[in-house]
Symmetry: C2
Subunit: 350 residues, 2 copies
């Protein structure tokens, strides 16, 4: 009797080690650019997607969330936690993994680490938005917050938007030094700065990406001149914002999915009916992106399930390109679907 | 430089093969009995649990669901699909896997197959309910529907309730033959039957466990005598019921979680305010279980997230007992949590 699990029983698994192999094989900047194209392609079919709000389990220490979505053919979800106090205890603030499955039979077809992949897709989403919103000739970007997301953003804007100089600032100089070190030899001119004001000097794009709930206003109104594009990444849960309300009032605001962003994004500081433009409408041409050179555009990014879906879809399509995955025996698939018990019994002899 | 992932990066994974090793090491009946104790213990702390309705993605072919819950210390969720047409195409109707995580830092601590485990926990839940609801001297059980769940139910009732005879009936005689074969040498007296009427003859417990939406009334009113306990497993999604409405009206009905059962269970055929008793109230003594010998008790079981949580908690506690698992490198855990990019870069040389 052949007791080998059938092909259907296996799900390709991309571990952290595999994901690093994939990133290093393709190149981080190139991979972000390719994921950006997947994300943009999926934003173009926005109306097709099942858009469930994320399912959150909150506790005193943080939150665990499930973010499911589906395009009718493929289903995906991400498990992700957010625990601001983790870093001080030697844990990652955010860890994640994700799954893709076939809608027609419900069988998972990919399990992947998503801590690294989320960093890539967040940067990819930022450049998708910036392609449509940032000033065309932008060469200098300020990076406020030099944590885990920083280098991915810098590389993404260098590769996709042609940013030549990145100006780093973090309340912790060690974080800035870390980012500056990691960005050596990437082709970027890296300028570590001692204050936020110094960082934004001459920048056409300001990326804010801080993690801690307590530093609630890292940009004040007088710091932001006309014409800039603000890429606001860090405000992504209730009670966590980065920008002063007055900046929001001077900006044209673009968001991923309003029902989620109004709860989690910078715009939680505004009235519930404050006008925002959905990114997918800009991408499909239904709405205008940047209108003129003096306009402040703000991408109030919180991360949405379709972006994870796009990133997982991308990884699945690269499996054979890099070959870095293993097959997990994750699904019971007896010869006779009704004979689950018999399958277990027969394994005894094996 | 030590590039080995830290201990925190690993998540124990129980594959299908591992789960079969665990079941065969402990013994299916014994394992169901032990899971039943975990389920009963968790029902006793019912009020502690985060009870979110399951998050379902419906399609023409079936449904994919995420079932999360938390007791404040541990978080768990199950991914499960239900595709009635799968069997005819050579796929399992239901496949599942699940995850446990620490609430305090959000790190997953177990990934497990749950196709087999769901079969075990469903049988375990049935005997937990029957312990409180079935006639005390029950020796004979009818099993209507002899699919994947059948043998697990039979073994569970034999082990935990002292059932001596199981009377099998299925519209497909091949399913009955399969179940009868698998139940040889288990200590049960197995009686294959040609009709549902024959199966329930002399039975104090009737377990209904059919899968197909189209056989909507497998028990009619005249088939059910006074004093029996009905363990109704198969009616577990909208439009899928097994019992004639008149049986429900003659029964005292016990359910896991009313908001879910009113949508998915047998009681979807009744008024929305039809009185039901919650199983956890019976278990904690807040409500009465079986009152007298002539009463018909009905456990309208649809499966609830806490039961999966209990089963996962049980598996986690058995990891070292059987040793059947592998460590998956699933979580990125850089030495410096802010240096995710550096971790990826350094892996290049490795």
């Amino acid at each position: 009797m052949d007791l080998t699990p059938s092909k259907l029983a296996y799900v390709p698994f991309v571990s952290v080690d595999d994901m690093m192999k994939i990133v290093n094989h393709i190149g981080a900047a190139q991979m972000i650019a390719e994921i950006a194209d997947y994300i943009e392609a999926d934003f173009k079919r926005w109306e097709l997607f099942d858009k469930t709000p994320r399912v959150a389990a909150h506790s005193e220490e943080g939150v665990i969330e499930l973010m499911p979505t589906s395009d009718g053919e493929t289903y995906g979800f991400k498990y992700v936690n957010g625990h601001p106090a983790n870093m001080a205890r030697g844990f990652q603030t955010v860890t994640a993994f994700g799954v893709l499955a076939r809608v027609d039979n419900g069988y998972p077809v990919l399990l992947s680490e998503m801590t690294i992949l989320t960093a890539l897709r967040t940067a990819a989403t930022s450049v998708v938005a910036a392609r449509h919103l940032a000033p065309k000739d932008a060469k200098v970007m300020a990076m406020i917050g030099n944590g885990a997301q920083c280098e991915f953003q810098a590389l993404a804007f260098h590769k996709v938007l042609g940013i030549e100089e990145v100006r780093l600032y973090d309340i912790d100089p060690a974080a800035t030094a870390k980012a500056a070190r990691n960005l050596e030899n990437t082709g970027l001119r890296v300028v570590p700065c001692k204050t936020g004001e110094e960082a934004i000097s001459g920048a056409q794009i300001i990326t804010t990406c801080t993690a801690d709930k307590q530093y609630a206003t890292i940009l004040t109104d007088n710091m932001v001149g006309s014409g800039v594009h603000i890429n606001a990444i860090g405000g992504d849960c209730p009670g966590k914002t980065e920008l002063h309300r007055d900046i929001l009032l001077r900006s044209d605001i673009f968001v991923e999915y309003p029902p989620q962003t109004r709860i989690e994004g910078e715009i939680q500081a505004l009235e519930a009916d404050h006008p925002v433009t959905e990114l997918w409408e800009v991408i499909t041409g239904k709405a205008q992106g940047r209108r003129d050179a003096r306009q402040i555009t703000l991408f109030d990014s919180v991360g949405f399930a379709t972006e994870d879906f796009s990133a997982l879809r991308y990884v699945r399509d690269q499996l054979d390109r890099v070959g870095a995955y293993v097959q997990l025996d994750m699904l019971a698939d007896p010869d006779d679907p009704r004979d689950l018990f018999g399958m277990v019994q027969r394994a005894k002899g094996a």
